[in-house]
Amino acid sequence: MHRSPPHAKVVRRQLNITPIVYRYQGNLLQSTLQAVGLGKRFPGVVALDDVTITLQPGHVLALVGANGAGKSTLIKILTGYYDHYDGTIEIDGRHVALHDPSAARRAGIQAVYQEVDTVLIPYLTVSENLLLGQYAHALVSWRALHAQAQAELARVGLQLDGHRRVEDLVLHEKQMLVIARAVSQDVRYLIFDEPTTSLSLHEVERLFDIIRTLKAQGVGIVYISHRLMEVAAIADDIMVLRNGRKVAHFPVADFDVGRISEAMLGTAITNVYPPKREQAPGEVILKVEHLTRARKLHGVSFSARQGEIVGVAGLVGAGKTELLRALFGADPVDHGKIYLDGKMVKITSPQRAVTHGIFLIPEERRAQGVLVDEKMRKNISLPFLGQFTWAFDLLHRRREDIHATATVEMLAVTPNDPEVEVRNLSGGNQQKVVIGKWLAGNARVMLFDEATQGIDVKAKQDVYRIVRDLAQKAAVIYASSDIDEVIGVADRIIVMHDGRIVAELDSAQFDRNLILEYATGSRTPMIQTVEDTKHAEKN
């Protein structure tokens, strides 16, 4: 296996020098990883079947596929997560067995996952996290530690103060830190699993810069993303998986969205978005006036009508989530008024919001939307348990079963058995459960926050259809940082920037660049919130 020669470690330890010298040696080996016939089966299911994959130094391979296509299984095999898999893996013609994570690490394979928080220690500094497990001596020289950390950060072109605590970093900084750490540990193959889900456009650009730097240094890269435009921008090769099999593999020069989605799904998808509303919207259901929360929301005013989907566009951190959470009573507001069907309501808690028919599909599905260890049935009946009881609060199981089965059918959840635990569902189906739990209620306002994050095209199409259906009876507020999606889904768009609404656009005015300019603050806001700067100063 390819490790630094044994003496190198001894020398490194004796001199206490940074191991960079040896690492370059590692990268210069220019080794090719060839995995032939990779497979993984679980009782009753074949997760990955006879997949052959080649990783070359300085080459970006994009891996796309619907949820459940086998991407994660493939990644887990390569990072040594399973103690058993089919097929052989060779690096430079030499057989390697990746049966545990340390073997993968020794072979120079590492992964950067979406959830970076699980691999960082929040109360340690950037430098400490970066060099975790690599301290040369029992006694730590802080100056040497920080110096070495700075050198490592510079390698990936990252400017970050090594003395900052990781808990104070924003998400993309943490992600960069994880990348820097991987690079500092003789990484030769780096796998990115949905790295851009929570990044702003600018941050995505910076990530791509880093990937290009790594490429130039001879690192072989696997890039997994649902965002096909990103794949087109960064990949050299594209490989499509479906149902555990490799169904297509072609150079980026042949990139074609239609072709990829077709390969991913097995059928052609003609139109992702459902048709827009035809009739004029009905009565005003929701009216918001001067909603303000210190440093998060500044005098937000807008209204939404029955039968209408109001899109909320804006970059990550523009205040979309804060606005939705405020409307749902999940966070306190400093002042502002909310009118529902013309009457002022005080929404002081989610419980209050639910009784008023205001329902939220929150941003983080697994952390906020579902109980992953519970069955679908129990998730679906949770908010309106009172409807499924008889005397003494005892649950009426049959009524609950009927409702859960009907909901699962209606939303086309697969598998369609409500007794399946939510943890066993793909992201798209979990999201359907989150939506499904509100269907027993009498919805007046539905709030969607990044509802299609990390789910595949087919599931997205289903979600859009459901959103449109829900808008028949209620007002829908649909927030997303994907501008194309907001344009596709909404009847009217409000654009947020820095906690303010800066523009309100009718469907005739929908234009990607226009929205982007408002969202980035590079265009003078169309809506001024004079009154509220006064309020803000008072606070």
Binding site: F42, G68, Y113, L371, D373, E374, L395
Partner: protein, 362 residues
Amino acid sequence: MADVSQLQPTQTNTNLPPTLPPGARRSVIVEFIVRYGMLVAIALLMVFFSTQNERFLEINNLFLIARAASILTIVAIGVTLSVTVDGFDVSVGAVTGLSVLLSTSLMVIWNVDWGVAILITLGAGLIVGLINAFFIIKLRIPDLLATLGMLYLAQGFQLMLTQGEAVFRGMYNPWSPERVQTTGEITVAFKQIGQGFVGATGEFNGIPIPVILMLFIAISAHIFLQYTRWGRMFYAVGGNREAARLSGIPVNRVRMFAYMLSALLATIAGIVLASRIGTGAIRSGDPYLLDAVAATFFGFAVLGARRPNVFGTVIGALFVGILLNGLTQMDVQWFFQDFIKGFVLIASLAMSFFLVKRNQGG
């Protein structure tokens, strides 16, 4: 991420492929141990003790064991309720002790009627639960620390009640400046709660009242957690507090309720204990804390529940009870018992956590 877990077999997997991969075969064995290990362990324990003592399996002896375990079971059900909402109540042992002292001293020192004494004690228990909830929910003290504080408060209050004296008939009134004998007594009716039997016939001594009480509480708690709206909300809050809150569940009310029930059950256990021993012994509730916590976590492993559940807790409490009773009957000297208990505890907890985790990890 979800990809692999999505492929994990559900429990009703009928279409296993003809050739199982090695990993799958092992997990079948592991699955069996996870589901039935606890029950097998109890059976083995009973077989072992019955070889040591031929009277062990007699019905009267089994009911005595159940009686000995019933106080522990009641406390453990309280702990289970707090663990279900993802909390933890370590004050239960001290609250049990407080209940023993409060109920007996009310009767002996202050000549309160036994029924009223029970009501006052139960009320005090609810107040303790409310205070716990206040510390944890309003003051946001972590549950373990808040109830640890309450452990000392309850213990201290217990000692202050009688100035550190045990309560018994004819004791000197610690609150009187002169040495005055108290005139109250722990009545026969009160003692029935812990010592009485129901339905004796011939050889059969009858069912001990504490066992009936314990069964009533266990069945009620089981129905509460499994079949009522509130029980469902308990599990929802314990499973993911934020998701429960964003589903409109009154999360704080649920948690408050759990701590109140936990303290109430500890108080009931204390009343049974006081009646059982017939005096107000100082700090007599202390040992119940650790046994109850152990019983609760044993319960995770029963039938592969992987979560707090009343049935598992009852089984766990019986396990601890049988072990303690068996050791005593085998004349194992008392100073060995804690060590053996610790050893068995670790072995069983290792089974609950190690195997369950492994099995989940796939």
